[in-house]
């Protein structure tokens, strides 16, 4: 059982390195601990309520006032003031005192009395699409209710047949499922959590590999790598990261959603069966990428900038059906793509494991593929030394270091 002993030795050493290297601790523990709290807190209001809105009511009639009063009463819009003219109102928007503007033209009442269509004009600052959404949905809601009343009044004297035609068309109902208030946290946080696992792991593992290479270049070889086969090193290291990330994942996926009352309707068995291959894929992906980490820090700068693109390429925000083919293929290289999609389906919509089969297969393929590439990386960088005894290896390395100097 030499191999098991070897694996355990690497496992122990790597676990020790992860816990006692402050830089790695930041990525393995501090970031997964704090970032989810920060993000979930940031979006804890889920959506924007009471958007400051100004009104210009040139009609100034009972109906127009009723309309504004009812809009003001909705949850999403707050009318902070009435302006005498557009100039004044627009200026308030420009000064960011208000974000939306409701304009009721003077003809509003004449049109209503003539039986024509009365138009209400809505303007929204496009600094955020959520202002637009809040204003449009509130005003539409109010206008639908008022239209119903107006129609009933107008139909006094109409024949029964006419009345029924106007008053009973098909009603349409909008039902958001799974994220019932169309909230931002419910939509974004699960994806951020999944991505966070991959990104912190890649950075932490890359830092440690960079450190190891730096030492190797200086002629120092960690004794625990000697006499090991590349696959034994991979298994030992992988097991160490797995042990750490099982704890991290338990916190990120069980504790955080509960703390912030985020949706979580998946079966826990499915969740575990899905997240396990995700962790494995991330581990071997990290070990593969660590092959290009020639020193600790360079790796951070080269990898951090992809975090935001990875969130977008997953299809959680910009729908995957509209992602250009090229980028879709690129997205399959990253465990986060399958991880985010599968996890959101299980966690948010209660999908079963069989519903996420494509993602699950993707993760297992990535696990196998990256395990192989990680083995190549380790074979190339350590294969030469691993067979040597510790003395021979150090002599060789020191000779190379002397040459380099």
């Amino acid at each position: 059982m030499k191999w098991l002993h070897n694996i355990l030795e690497v496992f122990r050493e790597e676990l020790h390195n992860s816990i006692f290297d402050e830089g790695v601790v930041v990525f393995f523990f501090i970031v997964p601990l704090l970032y989810p709290l920060l993000y979930a807190y940031l979006y804890s209001n889920e959506t924007v309520r009471e958007v400051a809105t100004v009104a210009v009511d040139n009609a100034n009639s009972a109906t127009s006032r009723e309309f504004l009063r009812k809009v003001d009463a909705t949850a999403d819009v707050n009318i902070i003031g009435h302006c005498a003219d557009m100039q004044e109102a627009v200026d308030l928007i420009h000064k960011h005192k208000a974000y939306c503007l409701i304009y009721i033209p003077a003809e509003f009442d004449y049109a209503l009395m003539d039986g024509k269509q009365a138009v209400v004009e809505l303007y929204s600052d496009m600094g955020s699409l959520l202002y637009y959404k809040a204003l449009l949905s509130s005003c539409t809601e109010v206008s639908l209710a008022m239209n119903k009343d107006i129609k009933t009044q107008r139909l006094v004297g109409a024949t029964d047949k006419q009345a029924s035609t106007f008053n009973h068309p098909i009603e349409y109902e909008y039902v958001p499922m799974f994220n019932t208030q169309s909230g931002f946290a419910t939509f974004l946080i699960p994806a951020v959590l999944v991505l966070l696992i991959q990104q912190t792991m890649v950075l932490g593992v890359g830092m440690m590999a960079g450190e190891e290479r730096e030492k190797k270049r200086r002629g120092i070889l960690e004794p625990h790598v000697l006499g090991k086969k590349p696959w034994e090193m991979l298994m030992g290291k992988g097991a160490a990261y797995l042990a750490i990330y099982l704890v991290v994942a338990a916190y990120v996926f069980c504790v955080v959603p509960r703390l912030f009352h985020l949706i979580q309707i998946g079966q826990w068995q499915d969740m575990v069966a899905f997240l396990f291959p995700y962790l494995l894929a991330c581990i071997f992906f990290s070990l593969t990428l660590s092959g290009i980490a020639h020193n600790r820090e360079v790796f951070i700068i080269m990898f951090v900038f992809v975090s935001v693109p990875l969130l977008f390429i997953s299809g959680i925000s910009w729908p995957s059906c509209s992602i250009p083919h090229f980028w879709k293929v690129v997205s399959w290289l990253f465990p986060s793509t399958f991880g985010i999609n599968g996890f959101v389906k299980i966690n948010n919509t209660g999908a079963l494991l069989r519903d996420v089969r494509p993602e699950l297969i993707g993760l297992w393929i990535q696990t196998a593929f990256y395990a192989f590439t990680a083995w190549l990386v380790y074979y190339r960088s350590y294969g030469k030394h691993l067979k040597d005894s510790i003395e021979v290896a150090e002599v060789k390395l020191q000779a190379r270091w002397a040459e380099y100097l």
Binding site: N45, Q117, A118
Partner: protein, 391 residues
């Protein structure tokens, strides 16, 4: 003396250019990475609005009338009916599998109820776990409801000789007309790329600035660097950061060209206010990097903090989820992020085309960040001159 110092500055600059050329990490992070980011975001959302989002249908009624309604639906730009499902359960499963983003549910008896004036209900289920897709579907559905629900009544009224104007007045007495100021098509790329591109550049500037300063300590050559300028920390930093600034300015110009010339995004203010904002953002990012080096003169710590701080800039600047909806402490925190001021400037200038005086406070805030490196220069100087890298 003066002459000698001047040449010292030149020598540091020359040395920096050589360093930048000799280490691939500089070329990657200063040129390749920003370009990848620029191209990624603008091509990902190239069309501005996702087209043909897959939508399902459950038509339990299956009459000539409901089939007509469904045919109308397919004509909308954002949605495409890809599949008919036999039951509500099947459609829900398809939604859970992510095959469709929404579905219409027409219950049995809809047509009969419509004909006997019982006001049947057609439901539209979306999955806002994919918020963008669901929001667009909502818009399509609203339009559809407006057009389709009045279809029967409209035909009756036309037959009775009413004019278009009168018909609309009867069916929909009050109508909403929505104007999205500056971005009438609700183009998502305009909404997001305008900030994502500079934000990525900012993040890279943080990191490269820190790496270039503190890796000198790690390599044990920082003393040599300081000797070239007789230990003058300001000259040392200027000599190092000016060549980088030149590259960053080119990369800044590249994103301005991509956004406002190639994709032709709204630029009501003309290019100069945005060019100024971009230049300030670049300078502030460099200044912030220097400040972090002063605060934590250790390569790994300064880089880690820059990373965490920089990544947080994206949500906290408020360009996607508005700042007014943050909890109060984070609303206050957002003012410490330079990207917030860049975003506000962009809204005022490029999107709304206001006179520069509306943005003076944002420019002033960005300028204030430039003073950050003046706070603790001696701490960094001491580190550069004395610190021995161990490990």
């Amino acid at each position: 003396m003066n002459n000698e110092n001047k040449s010292g500055l030149m020598r540091v600059m020359r040395r920096e250019v050589l360093r930048m050329l000799s280490q691939p990490v500089y070329i990657f992070c200063m040129v390749v990475a920003p370009l990848i980011g620029y191209i990624f975001f603008t091509t990902l959302m190239g069309q501005g609005l996702p087209a043909d989002i897959p939508v399902g249908v459950v038509d339990e009624d299956n009459t000539a009338v409901t089939r007509q309604v469904l045919r109308n639906l397919d004509a909308f730009q954002q949605s495409e009916i890809v599949e008919q499902y036999a039951s509500f359960g099947e459609a829900r499963e398809a939604m859970q599998q992510g095959k469709i983003y929404a579905f219409y549910y027409i219950p049995k008896g809809t047509t009969e109820q419509a004909l006997s004036s019982k006001q049947p209900k057609v439901s539209f289920y979306t999955n806002p776990s994919y918020l963008v897709a669901a929001s667009l579907e909502y818009r399509d559905m609203k339009m559809m409801a407006e057009l389709a629900s009045g279809a029967i009544a409209r035909e009756t009224l036309y037959a009775e000789g009413y004019t278009d104007e009168q018909v609309m007045g009867i069916l929909q007495p009050i109508k909403m007309e929505m104007h999205a100021i500056g971005n009438p098509g609700l183009n998502y790329s305009i909404y997001l790329s305008n900030i994502l591109l500079p934000a990525m550049l900012m993040l890279l500037i943080f990191q490269v600035t820190i790496y270039s300063i503190l890796s000198e300590v790690k390599e044990g050559v920082s003393k040599h660097w300081m000797e070239l300028v007789d230990g003058n920390i300001y000259k040392a930093l200027a000599g190092k950061l000016l060549p980088q600034l030149a590259v960053w300015m080119v990369m800044g110009a590249v994103y301005l060209v991509i956004l406002y010339a190639y994709w032709d995004f709204p630029l009501k203010s003309g290019i100069w206010p945005m060019a100024l904002a971009a230049l300030l953002l670049i300078l502030v990012s460099q200044a912030f990097g220097v400040f972090l080096c002063e605060l934590l003169p250790s390569l790994r710590w300064a880089l880690s903090i820059a990373t965490l701080w920089g990544v947080l800039s994206f949500p906290i600047s408020g360009f996607s989820f508005p700042q007014i909806a943050f909890p109060a402490p984070l609303r206050a925190l957002s003012y410490l992020y330079p990207l917030r001021y860049y975003y506000l400037t962009y809204v005022d200038q490029a999107l709304n085309g206001l006179p520069l005086c509306y943005s003076w406070a944002n420019f002033a805030a960005l300028l204030a960040f430039l003073a950050l490196p003046m706070l603790l220069p001696n701490r960094l100087k001491k580190c550069l001159l004395e610190y021995q890298y161990t490990r």
